[in-house]
Amino acid sequence: MLTVEKLESGYGESPVLRGVTLEVRPGQVVCLLGRNGTGKSTLVKSIMGVLKAWGGKVGYAGRDLTRKAPGERARSGLGYVPQGREIFGQLTVRENILIGLEASRGRDGRRATSELQPTGRRDEDASKAVSKRGVGSEGEEAPKAADRRGGGRGSDEIPQAAIERFPVLPTMYDRRGGDLSGGQQQQLAFARVLAAEPELLILDEPCEGIQPSIVDDIRDVIRSIKSDGRTAILLVEQSLEFVRSTGDYVYILEKGAVAWQGDMEALGDDVVRRYLTV
C-alpha cells in the first residue's frame, strides 16, 4: 500500500535520510524503531510531504506521491498524528475535528462507494463500532452509531468514526484546543485524524510526554484500530513492550538508513541490544 524507495531527505543543507526503503501493507502495523536522532521523525515527515524528498520515491496505492503536497497525500488516504500533537490551539475542539474532515473532502472512489453502501452493510459497520467502543460509553452513544458517516461530505457534523473511541471529547467541544491537557490533546489529535477515516495512519511517538493513565488509553485505541483491520498503521514508538504486543513488522533505523528489518517474532534480544539499547 505504502511504498518508500531509497528516500533521501533532510533539513536545510544537512542530510538525514540516506536511502530508506520500506513498505506497509493493508491492515498491517509496522513499527519504526531506532535510537534518538536516527531519522524516524524525518522519515515520517517526508512520507507526509512536510519535508521535501531529495531523492527516491514515495508511492501510495499505486500512485507516485513524491512531488505531491501534504494536502493531497492526506486526501488520498494518509492520516498523520505528529510528534507533539500540533493541535490548533485557537480553534475549538469541534473545529479541530472538523478540520480533520478536510481530508475526506473530494476524496474519490473509495470514499464515494463507502458512502453509497446499502444500509445492510452500514448497520453491520455500526454494530462493529459499538462492540469495540471503549468501556463506559456504550449505553448513551449506541444509537448515534447508526448515523456513522451519515453526515457526508462538506457537512459540519462530526462523524462517529472520529469520537467513538473518545467519549470524553464531546463534553468539551466548545473549549479551545490550547486549553486542553496534553493527554486530552493527544486524544483530540487522534479524533481529528480519524474523522477522515484514513487507510494508513502514521503515528509519531503518540505516547510521548503524556500522563501514564492516558498512555494506556491511547494504546488501547491503537490496538482497537488494529483489530478493526481497516486501517494500516506506521508507528514510531519507544516502548518495546507495546511494539512487541501490537506490531506485525519492524524496521530499525540507524544513521538515516534501515539497519534491520523483520517480523515481530524475529526481533530478538540480540537485535535490541545491538540497535536500540542506549
Binding site: 510531504g49 501534504p70 494536502g71 497525500r73 492526506a74 490548533f88 472538523l98 478540520i99 480533520g100 475526506s104
Partner: protein
C-alpha cells in the same frame, strides 16, 4: 468645541477606511510574510471601478436610476479588486511567500505597472465621482455640528464589511480552514487542506476589501492613478502599530493613527501633522516593539 468633535468624527471615519485597507495587508504581511506594495493600487482599482460604474449609469441608464449606482459600485469595486488580487496571487505572489524583501520589490513594480495602466486608460488627471444625492447633506447634532452623511455611510459600510469578514472567518468552513492554516500551516496541510487554495482566497479577499476602501474614498475626494500611494504607508503603519499576527490589533492601530492624524492636522497643518504622527509611532514602537497586541502563545515560539 464643535470643531473638535467634527475632527474626532472625521478621524474615526478616516480610521475606518484605513482599517479596511489594513485588514488585507495585515493578513498578507502578518500571516504570509509578503510585503504587498501593490495593495495601494488595489484601492485605485476599486476607485476606478466605482468611476466606471458611474459612467456606465450616466451613459446607458435613465437619469432617475443614477442615485442607485453607488450601491452597485460597492459590489463592482470589490469584485474588480478581488479578481485582480486573485490574478496577482496566482502569477506572482505565491512564488514569494516567506521572502519579504523580494516581494517588496516585485509588488512595487506591479504597483507602478498598474498606475501607468490607469494613466493610459483614464488619463493622468484626477477624475471626480459624483456622489449620489441621498448622501448629500448631513445629520445635524447641534447648531454648530453636522455630521456629513457621506462619512456616516462610510462608517456603516466598514461596519458591514467587518461583520461580513467576521462571519466568514468564524462561521464558515472556508474561514475555519483559513484560521487553521494561519495557526499551523504544516499541520493544516497534513490534514488535507489545500494551503494553495486557502492562500489565494485569503489574498483575494484582502484585495477585495482594499477595493471597497477605494470605493469609499470616491465619496471623500477626487481619485487619480496615485491614490493608493497616499494610503499604503499609513496602512502599513497601522499593521505594524497594531501588532503583526492579530487582527484585533489592526483595529486599534487604525483607530490610533486615524485619530492622531486628524487631530494633529487640525492643531498644526497637514505636513507637520504627518511628521508628528510618525514621531508618535516611532516613540510608541520603541516602547512596545511588537505593537498593541502581540501574539503571546507558545505557537509562535
Amino acid at each position: 468645541m464643535d470643531v473638535v468633535w467634527l475632527q474626532l468624527f472625521n478621524g474615526i471615519s478616516v480610521s475606518s477606511i484605513l482599517l479596511l485597507i489594513a485588514l488585507g495587508l495585515a493578513v498578507t504581511f502578518g500571516q504570509m510574510n509578503v510585503i504587498n506594495m501593490a495593495h495601494g493600487e488595489l484601492i485605485m482599482v476599486g476607485a476606478y471601478a466605482t468611476y466606471l460604474t458611474q459612467r456606465l449609469f450616466q451613459m446607458y441608464l435613465p437619469a432617475s436610476w443614477f442615485d442607485q449606482y453607488f450601491l452597485l459600485s460597492i459590489l463592482a469595486s470589490f469584485v474588480a479588486a478581488f479578481l485582480i488580487g486573485l490574478l496577482l496571487e496566482k502569477v506572482l505572489i505565491r512564488f514569494l511567500y516567506g521572502r519579504p524583501l523580494d516581494s517588496l520589490l516585485a509588488t512595487w513594480g506591479v504597483g507602478l505597472v498598474l498606475q501607468q495602466l490607469a494613466r493610459t486608460l483614464f488619463g493622468a488627471p484626477n477624475v471626480g465621482v459624483k456622489s449620489p444625492s441621498w448622501l448629500e447633506g448631513g445629520l445635524t447634532v447641534t447648531s454648530g455640528l453636522s455630521l456629513p452623511y457621506k462619512r456616516l455611510f462610510i462608517l456603516g459600510l466598514v461596519a458591514v464589511c467587518l461583520l461580513a469578514m467576521f462571519l466568514y472567518i468564524y462561521r464558515t468552513a472556508a474561514g475555519r480552514r483559513m484560521r487553521a492554516v494561519m495557526q499551523n500551516r504544516d499541520m493544516a496541510a497534513c490534514l488535507g487542506i489545500s494551503t494553495r487554495r486557502v492562500d489565494s482566497m485569503t489574498f483575494a479577499i484582502g484585495s477585495g476589501l482594499a477595493g471597497v476602501a477605494g470605493c469609499a474614498l470616491t465619496l471623500i475626494g477626487p481619485i487619480g492613478p496615485t491614490i493608493g500611494t497616499y494610503y499604503i504607508v499609513d496602512a502599513f503603519m497601522v499593521v505594524v502599530l497594531g501588532g503583526v499576527g492579530k487582527l484585533v490589533g489592526t483595529v486599534f492601530g487604525a483607530l490610533g493613527i486615524g485619530l492622531t492624524n486628524s487631530l494633529f492636522e487640525y492643531w498644526t497643518d497637514a505636513s507637520l501633522g504627518k511628521v508628528l504622527v510618525f514621531l508618535c509611532i516611532v516613540a510608541f514602537l520603541q516602547w512596545k516593539p511588537k505593537g498593541f497586541v502581540a501574539m503571546r502563545t507558545r505557537s509562535l515560539d
